[in-house]
Subunit: 534 residues, 2 copies
C-alpha cells in the first residue's frame, strides 16, 4: 500500500494553485447541457448533480490534483483496511464495515470485525422477529406496540432521523402500503436530561406494551443513565405490576458497565471503532429500526449505504460523488470564504436529517488543530443548518437570497411521494408543485434577477448542489447517509484533522461534574449555578 | 416627536468610535460580581444576563451613544405610534398592539386598531369556549378533540413553537396540573406542500373530532391552499359523512379571497400590519392556542409579551434588555466579525423555538440594501440556528468550543420544570443536572482551559448571554418571544434596513409559477424540472 503522508491543506501545492485560479462565473456556466452532464451516481439510486456550482473542467482538474496530493482515496482505503485512523484515540474507524466489506478483511486479536457486527444484526433480527410474532411480550403478556429509544447525541439524532425518514412509508393506518408482516412498532425518543422530555413521552405511551432501548456505548452517559432511572421509577410508581427489566434492552459496548446485566431483556453490542455520530448503521440504529420496520428493511438501508461506500473508492473525481462534494466544499470554504452550509431536503420525511448532519459534520470537523495537535492556519468545518423545503422558503431563504452572508446550499429531492396521498389540481400534483419549487429555487439562487429597485434585486451566484432520486426508500436513504459520512471524512483528510474524536465536548462535562460533585467549584460556576437553582 | 433621521450604520460617529475601541478580554472581566450585577429585567419574570459578553462600562457607554445616534427608542416609539415604518410596503407595524397599547392610540380611517385586534380575540375566546363546552361540535356531533393548523412560514413556525412550549404544562394525562377546565385540544400541523406532510397527519387523527384552522393572511399562499384542498378531498374520500365546512375555520385578512366564506365554520381576521413572522400573538397564533389551552392562558402569554414591549421603551441601555442585546449583537457582528448566532434553550419544551427565531431574525434582517434601497457596505443579519441543551452538547458544541468559526451564543434556562416528573439521585434532580450543564457551558465557553496537548485545549473567549426565569410559563414565554422580536427590530434600525418586508422570497415563487403555468419556462427551469419529474 502507498505510504501515507499527512500535510496541512495550506502546505499543498495544489491548494496554493487553487487559491490563485480564476473562478468561473456561475451565471455564465450554468447551462441546460451542464444540468444533464454534471451528474454522478452516488449509490442507492441517488444522483449527485453539481451543475449549479462554480466549477469548470480546469477547476475540477485542480481539485483532482488536490485529492491526489492529499491522498484522499489512499486514506479512505486505510480506514477500510482497519488502520487506526482515529489517531488521537488510537482507534480504528469501522462504521463502513457495518454495511459490508469494501475489499478488506479487518481482524483484531483474531476476531473478524465484520462477523462481530453481523452477529449482532442476526441477534437483532431474531429478537425483533420474536417481538413481532409475540414470542417476546411485555411482562404482563401484552404484545409490544411502542418502542422508546433512550440515548443522546449519536444515539439519538441519527436513529431518529432515519426512523422519521422511513416511518411515512410504513405507517400502516389508512395506507395501501402495509408491506411488512410484523406489526409496526411506533418509536419515540428520550434524549435530554431535562425531565420534561421524558415526562412528555411517558405520559403518552402505553407502559404495558412499550419496550425501551437504552443506548450508551460507554455505559456512562450522564443524561442516558439518569433518564433510564427516571423511566424505571416512573414505571414502579405508575404501573408496579410491570417488571422494568422485561421492558428494556441495551445497546452498549461489551466493556461497558451495562453489558451482560440482568436488568435487560437482551443486550446488543457495538465497539469503540464506531463513533457515536457514525453509529446509525450499527446496532445503535438497527435495533430500533428493526423493531419498527422489520429487519428486512434494515438490510435495504445497509445495502444502499454499502453501495455508496463502494462508489467512494473511485479515484476519478468526476465519478465519485462524495469525493467531489467534499472537494468542492473545501474550495467554497477555503478559497471563496463560505463558512456555512445549509441542507435543504424537499421531503418532509427528512425533517430531522439536517439535525443529524449538523452533528455529523460539526462534531467531526469543528477542529482547530491538525491530526498531530498542531494549530491549523485555515478554516475547517462549516456551520451546518437546515429545514425541509418548501418550509424554509417561507423562513430563512430571505437571507440566503438577499442577505450579506455566504451560505452554500445542498438540496435534496425525490420524484415520487413516499406515501399514497396526493392531490392533483390544474394539471399538477402536490409533489410536482413541491419539485417545481425546488427547481425554481436552484435557478433563482444561481442566476438571480436584476431589478433597478435594489430591494427587489437578486444578485444570484449562490452555489448549490442537488442530491436526487426516484423515491425516498431505505436504499436511497442509506446511500444519502453514507454520502454525507464519506464527504465529511474526505474533508477531514483535506484539512488534515482527525474527524473521529470530539475532545471539545469534555470541558463542559468536567465542569458540570464539579458542580454536581459538591466539591467546592470555582466562584463563576457557583454564581451561575446559583441563579439557575442548582 | 423628535424628527427621525435615517443613517447607515457606517455613517455614524459612534460606530466608527466603536470600531476603534480596545475590546475588553472576556476571560479577565468575567467575575462573580459581574454575574450578579449584569442583569436586566426583560419582563414576564425573564432576566437578561450579559455577564459573559466582552463589554465593559466604556463599551456600553459607546453602545448607548450609538442607540442615541441611530434613534432606536424614537424609532420604536414611531412603530408604536402607527407610523408606516415598513417603508417599502408603506405599512404600519402593529404586532405590539396585539399585546396591549404602549402609550399610543393607533387609528386608521377612524378605526381603533387595538379594538380591532381585541375584537378578534374576544370572538376567538367565545368560539373556543363553545368548542370546549360542546356547543360547537363536529358535523356528526362529536366533541372536538384535535386541531390541525394548516399554514406555512409565520403561520406555522411561531404558533408551533408556542404550542410545544405550552403543551407540556397542560398535557393532562398523568399530570397533576390539569389546571384548565375546558378539554385540552391536541394540535398537529400541516405546512409543507410535500403531500407526505399532510399524509402523516391525516393518518393519525380522528377526522370526526378534528377541527382544521386554515391560516393565510393573503388567502393566496400556494402551499396552504393546496393542503386545504388535499384535506377536503381526503375527508370526502375517507369520511364522506363529514361536512368539511363544519370542521374548518379560517384566519385571514378581511380583504382576502377566503374572507366571509361559507366554507368555514368561522373566520377570524388579521390585517396587513402584522407581518407573518410577527403574527404569533395575533389571531394566527391565538386561535390555535386558545383552542388548545383556553383563552385565559393566551391572556397570560399576551401579558408577558406586553410587559417586555413596555420595558423596551426604556432609553437607558442597561435597563432595556432587548435594546442592549441588539446593540451587543451588532457589536459582535460588525466589529468582532461574528456572522452566526446560536440559540440554546435548556428546556425541551422550547424544542422548536430556535426554528421560529431563525425565521424571525433571518427573514427580517437578511437584507443587503438599506431602507431606501441603497446597498449597505456592512454585514447585516446573522445566520441563526439552535437545538435544546443538553442535546446540542452531544452534537455541534464541538465546533463551538474548538472550531475555527465565530459563533455567538444565546442561552435560555429555567430554575424549575414545567411538568411534574423528576428524579433525584445523589442529591440532585434531573433539572439541577440540566442546569449544572448550562452553568458549566457558559463558564467553559468564556474561560476555556489551557492544555499543552492542543487537541484538548479550549481557547475560551466565546461570548454568551443568558435569558433565564423561574419556570417556562405563558408569561415568561410571551416575554421571551417579544424580547427577540424587539431585539430584531432594534438591529434593523441599527443597520438602517427594513425588517418588515421580505422581497427575497418573491423570485422563487415567480419561477415556480412559470413551471406550473405551463408557459414555456426557460431551459434551465425545464431541465431541473425534468429530472425532478415535473
Amino acid at each position: 500500500m502507498t505510504q501515507i503522508r499527512y500535510n496541512d491543506l495550506d502546505q499543498t501545492l495544489s491548494f496554493r494553485r487553487l487559491s490563485e485560479i480564476q473562478v468561473p462565473s456561475l451565471k455564465k456556466i450554468l447551462t441546460e447541457e451542464r444540468i444533464g452532464t454534471c451528474s454522478i451516481n452516488a449509490g442507492g439510486g441517488i444522483q449527485y448533480n453539481y451543475a449549479a456550482l462554480p466549477v469548470d473542467d480546469e477547476l475540477i482538474s485542480l481539485l483532482a490534483d488536490l485529492a491526489e496530493e492529499q491522498q484522499l482515496i489512499t486514506k479512505y482505503e486505510a480506514v477500510l483496511q482497519g488502520n487506526r485512523m482515529n489517531t488521537g484515540e488510537g482507534r480504528m474507524v469501522l462504521h463502513h464495515l457495518t454495511r459490508g466489506e469494501c475489499g478488506w478483511t479487518v481482524e483484531e486479536e483474531g476476531q473478524n470485525k465484520r462477523s462481530f457486527y453481523m452477529e449482532q444484526f442476526e441477534r437483532i433480527a431474531d429478537f425483533s422477529h420474536r417481538v413481532h410474532t409475540g414470542k417476546i411480550t411485555g411482562s404482563g403478556g401484552a404484545m409490544f406496540t411502542d418502542v422508546v429509544q433512550i440515548g443522546i447525541g449519536g444515539s439519538d439524532l441519527g436513529p431518529r432521523a432515519l426512523y422519521l425518514a422511513m416511518a411515512g412509508a410504513y405507517a400502516g393506518k389508512g395506507s395501501d402500503r402495509k408491506e411488512l408482516s410484523p406489526p409496526f412498532l411506533r418509536a419515540r425518543f428520550i434524549s435530554n436530561v431535562d425531565p420534561d422530555d421524558a415526562a412528555s413521552v411517558l405520559k403518552e405511551i402505553p407502559l404495558e406494551s412499550t419496550l425501551f432501548i437504552l443506548v450508551s456505548k460507554s455505559g456512562t452517559t450522564q443524561e442516558t443513565l439518569t433518564n433510564r432511572q427516571l423511566v424505571i421509577n416512573y414505571i414502579r410508581e405508575h404501573a408496579p405490576e410491570i417488571d422494568p427489566s422485561r421492558h428494556m434492552i441495551a445497546v452498549t459496548s461489551q466493556t461497558s458497565p451495562l453489558a451482560d446485566s440482568d436488568d435487560f431483556l437482551e443486550s446488543f453490542y457495538i465497539d469503540d471503532y464506531i463513533g457515536g455520530r457514525y453509529s446509525s448503521t450499527s446496532a445503535v440504529g438497527i435495533a430500533l429500526l428493526s423493531l419498527c420496520f422489520g429487519y428486512e428493511e434494515c438490510v435495504k438501508l445497509l445495502k444502499g449505504a454499502h453501495e455508496a461506500d463502494l462508489l467512494a473508492r473511485e479515484p476519478v473525481v468526476t465519478e465519485n460523488a462524495s469525493l467531489l462534494d467534499a472537494l468542492i466544499g473545501v474550495f467554497l470554504g477555503n478559497v471563496l470564504g463560505y463558512r456555512m452550509s445549509t441542507v435543504l431536503p424537499y421531503s418532509q420525511a427528512l425533517v430531522r436529517f439536517p439535525a443529524h448532519l449538523q452533528q455529523l459534520d460539526m462534531e467531526s470537523n469543528g477542529k482547530q488543530v491538525n491530526r498531530f495537535g498542531a494549530p491549523v492556519a485555515y478554516h475547517t468545518g462549516p456551520v451546518i443548518f437546515g429545514e425541509p423545503g418548501t418550509n424554509g422558503q417561507h423562513s430563512f431563504y430571505q437571507l440566503l437570497h438577499q442577505g450579506t452572508e455566504k451560505v452554500s446550499l445542498q438540496f435534496i429531492g425525490f420524484r415520487n411521494n413516499q406515501q399514497d396521498i396526493d392531490l392533483e389540481t390544474e394539471g399538477f400534483s402536490s409533489r410536482q408543485k413541491l419539485n417545481a419549487n425546488l427547481a425554481a429555487q436552484i435557478v433563482a439562487f444561481a442566476r438571480g434577477r436584476e431589478d433597478t429597485n435594489l430591494s427587489k434585486n437578486f444578485p444570484g451566484r449562490r452555489p448549490s448542489s442537488l442530491l436526487h432520486a426516484e423515491t425516498l426508500t431505505p436504499e436511497s436513504l442509506g446511500a444519502l447517509l453514507a454520502h454525507f459520512e464519506n464527504k465529511v471524512m474526505f474533508q477531514g483528510f483535506l484539512w488534515n484533522i482527525n474527524s473521529f474524536d470530539q475532545e471539545g465536548v469534555q470541558l463542559g462535562k468536567v465542569l458540570a461534574k464539579q458542580i454536581l460533585s459538591g466539591t467546592p467549584a470555582d466562584t463563576l460556576l457557583t454564581a451561575y449555578a446559583r441563579i439557575l437553582g442548582v
